[in-house]
Subunit: 329 residues, 2 copies
């Protein structure tokens, strides 16, 4: 057990709101020692904008400007654009706040100028005062597709327009096979641990893992990989994770989450109310840490982040991983 | 002299603010009997949006939602998008109001879907309650280019970013030679008259006339063509018309305007303060009508519109033009 790690860098994997909250706690503790690899599987083109919902959620949350009520978009947002677009008969199913729109316009413009999504993400997060590094999983297009009753549904169609109202038979990641893992990810120095934030395993983390080389990169780091269960007491804090697990015949519980990450995660953080599941999870070969995981306040985020880091430090790492870091930068 | 014309249709040519004001007066009197052919030479792409400043000015003005203070954009506009875009370090030189942005997003989206600019213009003007028909001069790209000291400057760069702050050596209309006159224009039934609104002759009307076939179409109508001078007392009411006329060595006066339209216009409406120029203008073979032309109120717009229509009715038309209209629809 080391508490004075020379290497205190952490890599987190995150998607939407829950993941962003823990990433925010980690960022509070670690600042520029934290790199967050963010899902881009739910990126899409809308009204000509390149919209990256998860990158935006993480950026806004770590920038302290996320809307705390609605779980997406900016605090204190206004809706003049949407009101007028509706008046003109334009597509109104995807809500774009007046200030949020600036993010999409900025990103789209920079991408058109030839910047990579990684570069644009760095610019946006710097502009919003984010001190940690945010990296899209890939600069290439990977698009989550929901297969339901013989139909292929683009992710935002499923998530927003259909409000997750159709059963999920299968989830695919179009473009993943041809996508390149963000080169900046492969170049990251070996961290002390990897934290998989409490994001939807199927919709937020699986797209990252679907990028060729992502799993090998994670395993090859030789450091503890800790996942935080987004399922608490058999339900998702937010979003369709529980519904999807049920539809895919996975146990809707922290045990189901642990089983999903078996072979990848070394440890799992589960909520106190799920303590009874600990022995079954441990039987999967995954170490269990039980703490309150529901983040209602900034203090909760920081507390859970600290708890995850402390737990990760108790887990064994691959021999030589600390002695011979991939990089000493 | 007919005052009970069976054919009371009117075609107007217009560009920016001054032209839109007279078009609004005409629209008030004529409703769906008025077709306004609008300059698209200052259209441009910005942040991925297809922006049509003159179409927007005419649409907003006839829709009664134009910003009366700034001369562009919408009344009661808000600026959250621009504020945030500036915060993110995005291009802030071209101001896009939150609601105005909906127009650009709607247009861009529809064009991307395969609609023509003519179709989109009809949709937008219908949504804003415009009763007259607005037609872009062409569905093809014609782009006004300012040549200044050996440089070629895109129109909005000149007009907005440089605030017309460089001398104009020459004005070109890129793409005009290959552009097709809007087919809907050629299909218009013969009107009672054509009114060239008090728009900048060089920047708003010349681009329309530069589209192949536009001049022939106008002359071939065989109806009186009346121009309203945008130059009053040797100055432009708004915009760089006077400055450009000086730089191009044209007399900065209603006489200069008349000379510019010689061979095309049958009559010109000049302001009362320019009455002394009437004999010289008449010597060019252009009939002159002298009235107050400065439009400070809606009543002024309607008054001037009525005055133009009455003047047009006094002008001779090509023999047979009334007896054999191009269409009797």
């Amino acid at each position: 057990m080391t508490t004075t790690a020379a290497n205190d860098r952490i890599i987190a994997l995150a998607g939407g709101v829950g993941g962003a909250k823990l990433a925010d706690g980690l960022s509070h503790l670690l600042g520029d020692k934290l790199t967050v690899v963010v899902n881009t599987g739910d990126d899409f083109e809308h009204l000509g904008f390149h919209i990256s919902p998860d990158l935006d959620t993480v950026t806004y949350t770590l920038g302290g400007v996320a809307n705390s009520q609605q779980g997406w978009g900016l605090e204190g947002e206004t809706w003049r654009f949407m009101e007028q677009l509706a008046r003109l008969g334009g597509p109104a199913w995807f809500k774009l706040g007046d200030r949020d729109l600036a993010t999409h316009a900025y990103r789209t413009n920079r991408l058109r100028e030839g910047a990579t999504l990684t570069e644009v993400t760095a610019e946006l997060s710097a502009a919003l005062g984010v001190t940690s590094r945010l990296l899209p999983m890939s600069d290439d297009a990977v698009r989550t597709v929901i297969h339901s009753g013989g139909r292929s549904i683009a992710f935002q169609e499923y998530f927003v327009r259909l409000a997750c109202g159709v059963p999920v038979d299968r989830i695919a990641f179009a473009g993943a096979a041809a996508a390149q893992l963000n080169p900046a990810i492969g170049a990251l120095p070996r961290p002390a641990a990897v934290i998989i934030c409490p994001s939807n395993p199927y919709l937020s983390i699986d797209p990252i893992l679907a990028v060729p080389g992502a799993r090998d990169w994670l395993k090859g780091l030789g450091v503890p990989i800790v996942v935080v269960s987004p399922i608490v007491g058999g339900a998702a804090i937010k979003g369709p994770a529980a519904k999807i697990m049920q539809e895919l015949d996975a146990p809707v519980s922290a045990l189901g989450v642990a089983a999903h990450y078996q072979g990848l995660a070394d440890g799992i953080v589960i909520d106190s109310c799920d303590e009874a599941l600990a022995p079954e999870i441990a039987a999967l070969g995954i170490a269990v840490h039980v703490v309150p995981t529901v983040m209602r306040s900034k203090a909760d985020r920081v507390e859970l982040a600290g708890s995850c880091l402390a737990f990760a430090r108790t887990l064994p790492r691959t021999p030589g991983a600390e002695a011979a870091p991939a990089s000493t930068k």
